[in-house]
Amino acid sequence: MAEQLTGSQILCRALLDEGVDLMFGYPGGAIMPFYHALPEYPGLRHVLVRHEQAAAHAADGYARACGKPGVCVATSGPGATNLVTGIATAHMDNTPLVAITGQVPRAMIGRDAFQETDIIGITQPITKHSRLVEDVEELAEAVHEAFAVAREGRPGPVLLDVPKDVQNQKLAYTEAAPRAPEGRRQGLMGSPTPMAIVEASRLITRAQRPLIMAGHGVILSDAYDELRALAEHTGIPVITTLLGISAFPESHPLHLGMPGMHGEVHVNRAIQQADLIIGVGLRFDDRVTGNLAAFARGAKVIHIELDASEIGKNVPVAVGLVGDARDILRELLAVVERRDCGSWRGEIASFVRPRVDSFKGGLSPEEILGALEDASAGRCTVVSDVGQHQMWVAKLYRYQRPNTHITSGGLGTMGFAVPAAMGVALARPGESVWAISGGGGFPMKMEEGIPVKMAIFNNGYLGMVRQWQQFFHGRRYSATPIWSPDYLRLAEAYGIPAWRVERAEQVDEVLRAAQAHEGPALVEFLIEQEANVFPMIPPGASLSEPIESETVSV
């Protein structure tokens, strides 16, 4: 005879069947039956956050770091709505995430019950899929469907809304192997025709000034070796987008840097001069292209992308290759002729300009990130927040190992770094993980003493907004000066060691000490107030019109 299990027990079993061993969440009324069952399943570790948004970011960071879907749990109503920003962040950056929310009992749905919210409706445009589980009979299948959809193809978040009475419903449960759900998506994973591969290879052979632009898709499909092999086989320089950073070793002579709004001048100039761009796993986001009409006018584009609907969405494409980046790069490698791009690379080298000092003071982001690289022997994973420090972190630390730079790229979610870094730290036990944030985005959310090192770049402003005000709003610093708490005392309240660095001479010693400390630690850097991120392409301008210093006014 089959065992009688509750919906909550079935939910736990199904999660274990999917290989889940860790989740982030916050309990509440409509999800209490699930939390009641949870202790019976010690294989499911639960990390209690202090705000549901942190649960979603932590699950996101975990998934980005290890590739398995991250799981977050919240109650109905405000618990569920607090997840929304985290789910949207995962959706924009294609993180596999399964969000489980409690819902009011079925009989109360639609009656504006206490803590009822239509979370399926709210999250519909920011999820890959969502489902209200209407009966315990469909619960296990719904969980397996959620994981399958979150993982397959272009990954993304899935939300399961489970009414409280379904969690309590009993069912004679027989274990069923997870099966692919019916009636799902058609023809998503096309593979390119041999003709298209040959055409792409012909374009690569003929190009005089080719570039590879590598995006997040390289990391998602684990195509590091193939990308490197193609670059080395052809001598084509490699640009990595914000989410593509660490897809290609930055010490490699073919690595150029980051393109776009805060890309280096020589990188953007190379794009504007190129006659061929091989885009691998990226979506030609507006922060990358600048003004589309003026983007790489002389270049044909080969676009390698898993999602057919991305091809030609923003940039006209000469050859679109739909499929997994790793498979397609392998197919290309098999046919592309060996070549060298010596003179083109020489030309790009001549575009390089000396970096403009963004700093009047002594403690520059260059120095801090250089010292961090030394202190961590270049081996830590850096999780950044959003704003100026995010650009410095992207540009000034040389990432050597795959997938060691994690940030909220598409949505640009402030408050991402610390909770996401917790997820990363739990996905990579024993590795050094640094969460770097600005004074504006630093939310102090430490739970369970997860060994994340935190750094705050404090310039007393919401710096990126202030920079826009400086250039585009006549220095009217409206609502951007910020007061910060005394972070040293805040850290003390949390029982973690902290340092404040005000002068360059202190940087090395403090970072070594923080790095050497077992467990979480915090370092606050008081940096120049009007520090800017250079160069900068003004919003709506083309990649050919960078602002390179404060003397240029727009």
Partner: protein, 171 residues
């Protein structure tokens, strides 16, 4: 080239799936002219016809985006001029006394039909292209039109279509 195009989508007839499909139209800012939904020969599966005024890449991308939705079984697009497009309209008209005979003349002229005759009001049914239906409704406006119900257009591409670009009869 911007022209009228038909997007046809086969999808599970659950409210959440309709919600997602219509949400996609809104989120991707598609220039929708009309929407029609009805059952197919497969129980549990509906056919959605969306007429949009767009260029070909926009329509193709919409098809790909529909194909990504869970619950969508198939999607395809074709220019309206390469297919047959029909809609149905029911028009409730009041025409009493000697005007009733005049109404029947108009009905006959448009190959329409009287489907309900009530002393208070008459319901006229007509089928045809959007332009035909509009002109028929205009002709009826010389009487007192009380209510109009239009189905929105449904469409089929003429001739044989490649299997991959066709929305099948059932699935």
């Amino acid at each position: 080239m911007t022209t009228l195009r038909a997007l046809t989508v086969l999808l599970e007839d659950r409210l959440i799936t309709f919600n997602r499909a219509v949400g996609l139209l809104r989120r991707r800012n598609l220039p929708v002219r009309s929407l029609a939904v009805g059952p197919t020969v497969t129980p549990g599966v509906s056919r959605l016809t969306i007429m949009i005024h767009s260029d070909e890449p926009t329509a193709d991308r919409a098809v790909q985006q529909f194909q990504k939705l869970v619950g969508v079984r198939a999607a395809a697009a074709f220019p309206a001029r390469e297919g047959v497009t029909r809609e149905l309209a029911l028009v409730k008209v009041r025409a009493t006394g000697e005007r009733y005979g005049e109404l029947l003349d108009v009905v006959q002229l448009y190959h329409a039909a009287v489907v309900d005759d009530n002393p208070e009001a008459t319901i006229v049914e007509m089928t045809g292209s959007e332009a035909f239906v509009l002109s028929c409704i205009r002709a009826l406006e010389r009487f007192e039109v009380l209510e109009v119900a239009r189905s929105g257009a449904v469409a089929l591409e003429t001739g044989l279509t490649e299997a991959g670009a066709r929305v099948p009869a059932n699935i």
